[in-house]
């Protein structure tokens, strides 16, 4: 079952004579439980696609069906609701709230829940559980600046998961990390994938992108190719699950 479906997504910037087509008729489909990487040189429309998939932006034309709901023409408040309930963001620069403890950072998305809002205790319990799942149960009261880059990114992953989203959108999740921390974060993503999470990851590193099941290549705003990455990714994921069942 497709969790993400786009039809002829087009995004145009600028007015009149000088128009830039950042995205030019991109149609793709991502299944429930898939781990997909998006690659492309700068200017390929990668970021624009991520912004639209992340419901941070509207397509100029085309349709975007997320989890059976057409979100292409939603207003800002509705899009915020979709982001809150269905999308978990992981950014290159972590994007944690400064001067706010790890626990409160992870609790933050729950503050903005629209329906069936949970009470404070329940929110705290959910956030605690998410932090424990990423191995930071003993760092919950730490501020972001007191944590290492890898730890901060794990807090961000806990925050992405706390709302039980339809898919996780990871934008260069290892871009700011040393190779060892990057490895840990990738392991964590594979682990999530093993649990059945849908993950869309943007990366410029072919080696990292190759760990996903499929890689979507963009060039000049168009879909250049989609490749299957063989068994490596799946094997990786299964191995993780075997060692660390969560």
């Amino acid at each position: 079952m497709s969790i993400i479906q786009t039809f002829e997504l087009t995004k145009t910037y600028g007015m009149g004579e000088i128009r830039v087509r950042a995205l030019d008729g991109v149609s793709l489909s991502i299944d429930q439980g898939e781990f997909v990487a998006v690659m492309g040189p700068s200017g390929s429309g990668k970021s624009t696609l991520m912004n639209i998939l992340g419901c941070l932006d509207h397509p100029t034309e085309g349709r975007y069906i997320l989890d059976s709901v057409d979100v292409s023409q939603m207003n800002r408040a509705e899009l915020a609701g979709v982001r809150n309930a269905r999308i978990g963001f992981i950014f290159q620069s972590y994007n944690l709230l400064p001067r706010t403890s790890a626990l409160k950072n992870v609790m933050a998305p729950l503050l903005y829940e629209r329906n069936n809002r949970r009470g404070k205790e329940e929110r705290e319990a959910a956030a605690t559980q998410a932090l424990e799942a990423v191995g930071l149960g003993d760092r919950m009261q730490h501020l972001p600046q007191e944590l290492s880059g890898g730890q901060q990114q794990r807090v961000a992953i806990a925050r992405a998961l706390v709302n039980d989203p339809a898919f996780v959108l990871a934008d260069e999740p290892t871009g700011n990390l040393d190779s060892q921390s990057g490895e840990e974060i990738l392991n964590l993503l594979h682990q999530l994938h093993g649990q059945g999470r849908t993950i869309v990851m943007v990366s410029h590193d072919p080696e990292i992108a190759a760990q996903a099941q499929r890689t979507i290549y963009l060039r000049d705003g168009r879909l250049e190719s989609i490749t299957r990455n063989g068994s490596r990714a799946r094997a990786y994921a299964r191995a993780e699950v075997k060692h660390e069942p969560v």
């Binding site: 992340g54 941070l56 932006d57 915020a80 609701g81 982001r83 709230l97 001067r99």
Partner: protein, 418 residues
């Protein structure tokens, strides 16, 4: 999010940046504090005045010469030329006429004062107010004799050179010695002390304790001799009339007016005197304080607006500084109205906290002012409430624009912001 969660967010942001929050609130704090202190002082003064006026007794009428009241040259036809002075104003005999001919009058007191140098032995005091009056003065002006006695009507009639001293004056002139029977020299006139008043304090700005009291006839004769006195009697500034029954005050006023108009040969429209009640005086005072109050209101308004602009300024800076935070919050699901509420709550919390601190500082200021100076201050609950409500209104008004701007930020731009 609900209100308590927004308040918690606001609190975290405000307490996370204490110095800046305090500076932001400073305008509001100063505005509110100064207004509460000034209102406190004005209300205290007003209360003191009112107490003093009512302390005189509610059955007192004041008959004043209007030509003296307005002063020569103060307006067309109000004096300044010889005939107007000759004709205008109350004279000593008017007091007796009122006492004799108006019904329901309990007592009449006339006053005439002069400023003289007073000497006893080697103690010399300059510019002592010598207040000439009649025998009913202590009862009408609510003065208590401490030692000795006040002078009688006979002594007034016979122009006896006697004196009664205010308590502070007696202390200064005689210190511990008994003043009764001693002689004081006022100007060139020797007066025998026959009594000393108990302490009375300031009444309507007059220090009753440092005055010297003597029969009014002595003042006319020795201190304020007038060339007109032989023609139409001695001018007096004011006649105090105590009525028996305050409920018929209006009819008593009318009788006095008719009597004096007839005696002075004028119509009521061009009367050279005015009859006022304490109520009139209170109303005049209130009109003055009302003007002062509205001035305070303007000061308060201006300072609150300045404070509000300060808050708006800092909130705008804060929105710019926290653009990335706004972007993060938007990404994880904050809708525009969530962001708007967050910043609005912060602005209102800042302004109301400023209001609260201002109230505390103002109350403390009033207290300190009241303790350190002779002025009395009163804490007016209404002004506290008003200050608080205005502070909140300022927060909403000046917080809305920055909050709205924050809510309209594009999440992609905001996330990219460094």
């Amino acid at each position: 999010m609900n209100l308590s969660e927004f308040l918690q967010l606001a609190w975290e942001s405000i307490s996370g940046n204490k110095l800046r929050s305090l500076l932001t609130m400073l305008g509001i704090i100063i505005g509110v504090a100064s207004v509460i202190t000034m209102v406190g002082i004005s209300a205290g003064t007003e209360a003191t005045i009112e107490e003093q006026i009512t302390g005189l007794g509610s059955n007192l009428l004041f008959v004043q010469s209007s030509f003296i009241r307005f002063g020569p040259g103060a307006g067309p036809g109000s004096g300044g030329d010889f005939t107007a002075q000759l004709r205008g104003g109350l004279v000593y005999d008017d007091a007796f006429a009122i006492a004799d001919e108006v019904e329901g009058v309990a007592a009449v007191v006339v006053e005439q004062q002069s400023s003289e140098t007073v000497k006893v032995g080697n103690v010399t005091l300059d510019s002592v107010t010598v207040l000439g009056s009649t025998a009913d003065f202590p009862s009408v002006r609510d003065m208590q004799i401490g030692e000795g006695r006040y002078f009688t009507d006979q002594e007034v009639e016979r122009k006896q050179k006697v004196a009664v001293l205010g308590s502070a004056l007696a202390q200064e002139l005689f210190e511990a010695a008994d003043p009764i029977g001693q002689t004081v020299t006022a100007g060139n006139t020797k007066l025998t002390v026959i009594g000393v008043f108990e302490e009375r304090g300031l009444v309507s700005g007059v220090d009753f304790d440092s005055q010297l009291y003597t029969p009014i006839t002595v003042v006319f004769q020795k201190f304020t001799p007038s060339m007109f006195a032989r023609i139409r009697g001695d001018n007096v500034r004011m006649i105090y009339v105590e009525v028996e029954n305050p409920e018929v005050l209006d009819s008593t006023i009318e009788q006095i007016e008719l009597l004096l108009a007839k005696r002075h040969d004028v119509t009521l429209e061009e009367a050279d005197f005015t009859v006022t009640t304490q109520q009139d005086i209170i109303e005049t005072r209130e009109a003055t304080t009302e003007a002062f109050r509205s001035l305070l209101g303007w000061v308060a308004g201006v300072s609150l607006i300045v404070g509000g602009i300060g808050i708006m300024n800092i909130m705008l800076v804060s929105v710019t500084e926290r653009t990335r935070e706004i972007g993060i919050r938007q990404a994880i699901g904050a809708a525009p109205q969530d962001i708007r509420w967050q910043f609005l709550t912060e602005a209102v919390t800042l302004s109301m906290a400023g209001g609260l601190i201002g109230v505390l500082v103002g109350v403390a200021g009033s207290w300190v002012f009241g303790t350190l100076s002779d002025m009395r201050t009163v804490i007016v609950t209404g002004s506290i409430l008003l200050a608080f409500v205005s502070a909140a209104a300022v927060g909403i008004f000046f917080g809305f624009y920055p909050a709205n701007r924050a809510s309209q930020l594009d999440p992609i731009e905001a996330l990219r912001h460094e």
